[in-house]
Amino acid sequence: MNRKLFCALSFLAVVLMLVAACGGPAATQTAAPTPKPAEPTKAPAPAEPTKAPAAPTATTAPAGPKAGGTLVFATSIDVPSLEPHLEAADAWHRRKALIYENLTWVDNDVVVKPALAESWEIKDDTVYTFKLRQGVKFHNGKEMDAEDVKYSLERVLDEKVGSAGRGDLIMIKSIEVLDKYTIRITLKEPTGPFLAALAGRYNAVIPKDSAPDGNALRRTAIGTGPFMVQEFVPAQRLVLVKNPNYWDKGKPYLDKLIIQVVPDEQTALAGLRAGTVDMVGIEDAKNFLMVKDDKNLVATRTPAIKIDTLELPADVKPVDNIKVRQAILLALDKPAIMQAGVMGLGQVIGGMPPAMKYWALPPEQLPNQKRDVAKAKQLLAEAGYPNGFNLKLRTIVGYATMAANAPVIAANLKDVGINVSIETVDLGVWIEDWRGLREPVTLNAWGGFTDPDLLYYRHFHTPPLGMDFRRWKNAKADELLDKGRSTVDPAKRKPYYDELQKLMAEDPIMIPLYSADLLNVMQPYVKGYVQHPSGWYYGFAQTYLAK
């Protein structure tokens, strides 16, 4: 009797589980071969926060900013060290924006603005004389002056120090301290992106002689920014407190900002619901979709300057033929790829992402952006592959968006006869091949640069001045990049980069797929946070708690 009962109960349990799994709304996210995008994404959509209206920097909220309070911000990405010139992790650069400052910064509209330098004069396109802000104090009380700036920039440029920021400042010929608050930087030749390069991720101003080696500033920080480091526990949390001597009086409003590492985003969202977490930076689009309609929370999307791409190196058969590259671009259904990759929470792009504002050309102005299977097949036939060919596509372990993009790309290319097999490698292997200039056709995720030269020069210019990671060896691209770099007036630089974007669409050595939006979810009393398109946390300096 009991044996039968046991079997019956087991069977019932299994049946219940099957029903639960198969029934219900399909909240699944497996990329179907030809998924329909949720909304047609033709033009890049502007930032659409679902609750609060998108308020740019100056908030005129009815009840003005209130000082005080502690904000707990949860993110799944941790930070190994706090070194301002040596730590390369992007997660650190996001936080660094609150602790350290540079001579300049690039604002939310990707325009260079003064930071520690109050103003500057440019003579002969190569001599920059900066007047520094006076009365700025480091977190240790010392006043910032020109000697500190000289020390910091020279440290970055020092080959022995090994900062990755050296490439940003390589155009500097000399740095002279004229007086306590004036510093003159002379460049080797006119360089358009110089002011943006000064705002770069590695070029923070630190006190003179504060970093005799690479360890001094790894676990503490001495910057000039709105927040100071109170406590840093690697892989766990960073506790920041208000800098009472911050030069922008009144800011920051928060007394304390705790950046907590919560590896599981579900746990972070649980914290939001329970009230132990005030704001979450979401990396996985699926989790955003779970909370964006929650009436108790505020969810925001912000266009970013990062891009997901498909790389077609020019010396890998058969993509060494330009017609094959064009065919591949024409075969792609970018909205579908974006739907699979980030649930549609992004912008389909053809060149630069729309968050690059002034510099970006929308996809409508670029050739080869509309999917055209017939034309793709024709191009393949002309190239000598009427029956298609086999292609290995590389992705990186742990990059969920790549894992989602790849099958859709494979399905798209199958329509034109290309059989894609996906090869997944470890990040270390991928980096070795990439830097060794021998990577195959691969997916990639990069960007985050605030000037078109910083974005493109190193990637596409031939050696020795660039790296030409994809072995393009394109003389026209070299010419445009050189002209864009050596021109200082942005209005005169723009035509070169417009032409470069068109060239890159004509000869798709790198196919930009989409730019994923930056996603945040917060309690309704968190006000004033505006997400910077680089992903960095500048916005916390203006954030206050309305409770």
Binding site: M1, N2, R3, L5, F6, L9, S10, A13, V72, A74, D78, P80, S81, E87, A88, A89, D90, E159, G162, A164, R166, G167, N215, R218, R219, V233, P234, A235, Q236, R237, I258, Q260, V261, V262, P263, D264, Q266, T267, L269, A270, G271, L272, R273, A274, G275, T276, V277, V425, D426, L427, G428, V429, W430, I431, E432, W434, R435, W446, G448, R458
Partner: protein, 316 residues
């Protein structure tokens, strides 16, 4: 007995050396090193700075030299520093160890508190509906992955009770209430799977024992069921369960990684995982060695306990 213990300890030391060699080699087999992790894809790095970093970490030396450099320091108690964060490895481990120990303790207590009584009842009431339900639950416990259970617990508790895993670990000595609030749920999740294993072991062991002649004799003597069970049967039935429980603790130390990730507990499981992703070799090697020492010591203790509980093997 003393000879037995000394023998076990010597075996343990030899095994530990084996563990260090295996971990040392395995972690170096993973493609990529800390240099790539540190420099990232975007850095403009000349070949020279990559090479100088490799030299700094000793990665250009032959493997056996690297091993010797590391092991000779470990033998005098110096486990080195984390390559990624410059925190001394011993300090790193000790800061995370209490969490995992507490988590594992709660888990094994849960497992025993649920598993042993369930197993006993199941055995005594064999083939009744009670037994059937208990066995079904045991099957469920064995089949359900811990990470699913943990994620579901977080989801359900947060939606229903607005409960969330705590962000910062509070020591039980500082605030017992807060500590229990954050360690009970993950501990129980982790313990549930173990409970199933222990329940089944208890049940089968108990079934074996109550069929023995001496139990029948005890009953015939007129002892109450309670006295028979606790006085005679359980004492013998519990022996294999002790061994299994000891092995379970080893499993729990490893399975704690998942629970620590889901519930944001700063334990050594998460530390090892993080260190592997970062290719932070000293931390990986140090932590695994630490866990191995704990696990092997535990095994020796269990073996001694076993000998103590079972006089029959005491004098081998």
């Amino acid at each position: 007995m003393t000879k037995y213990v000394i023998n076990r300890l010597l075996t343990m030391i030899v095994s530990l050396f084996g563990v260090t060699i295996i971990v040392f080699l395995l972690v170096r087999l993973i493609p990529g090193t800390i240099v790539e992790q540190m420099l990232g894809t975007e850095a403009l790095t000349s070949y020279e700075s990559v090479e100088s970093l490799r030299r700094y970490f000793g990665l250009d030396q032959p493997v056996y030299i690297q091993y010797w450099e590391w092991i000779r320091r470990v033998l005098v108690g110096d486990m080195g520093i984390s390559w990624r964060t410059s925190v001394p490895v011993v300090q790193f481990i000790l800061s995370r160890l209490p969490v995992t120990l507490e988590l594992t303790t709660v888990a094994i207590i849960t497992a025993l508190a649920i598993g042993v009584p369930a197993g006993v009842i199941s055995a005594l009431k064999q083939n009744s509906w009670l037994d059937g339900v208990a066995r079904l639950l045991a099957l469920a416990g064995l089949s359900i992955p811990v990470f699913w259970l943990g994620t579901m617990a977080v989801l359900v508790l947060s939606l229903a009770f607005r409960w969330a895993p705590a962000l910062e670990f509070v020591s039980p000595f500082t605030d017992l209430g807060a500590n229990l609030h954050m360690i009970l749920v993950p501990g129980i999740c982790l313990g549930t799977v173990s409970a199933a294993v222990i329940m089944r072991m208890t049940r089968s062991s108990m079934l074996d024992v109550i069929r023995q002649d001496y139990v029948r004799t005890a009953r015939a003597k007129g002892l109450s069921q309670q006295a028979v069970i606790t006085g005679h049967a359980l004492k013998n039935a519990i022996i294999p369960v002790v061994t299994v429980a000891g092995l379970q603790v080893g499993w729990l130390l490893g399975g704690s990684v998942v629970v620590e990730e889901v519930f944001t507990l700063p334990g050594i499981g998460r530390l090892v995982l993080w260190a592997i992703y970062q290719r932070d070799y000293p931390v990986v090697q140090g932590t695994v060695l630490f866990i191995a020492v704990m696990f092997m010591t535990l095994n020796v203790v269990v073996d001694i306990l076993y000998a103590f509980l079972n006089p029959r093997i005491r004098y081998d």
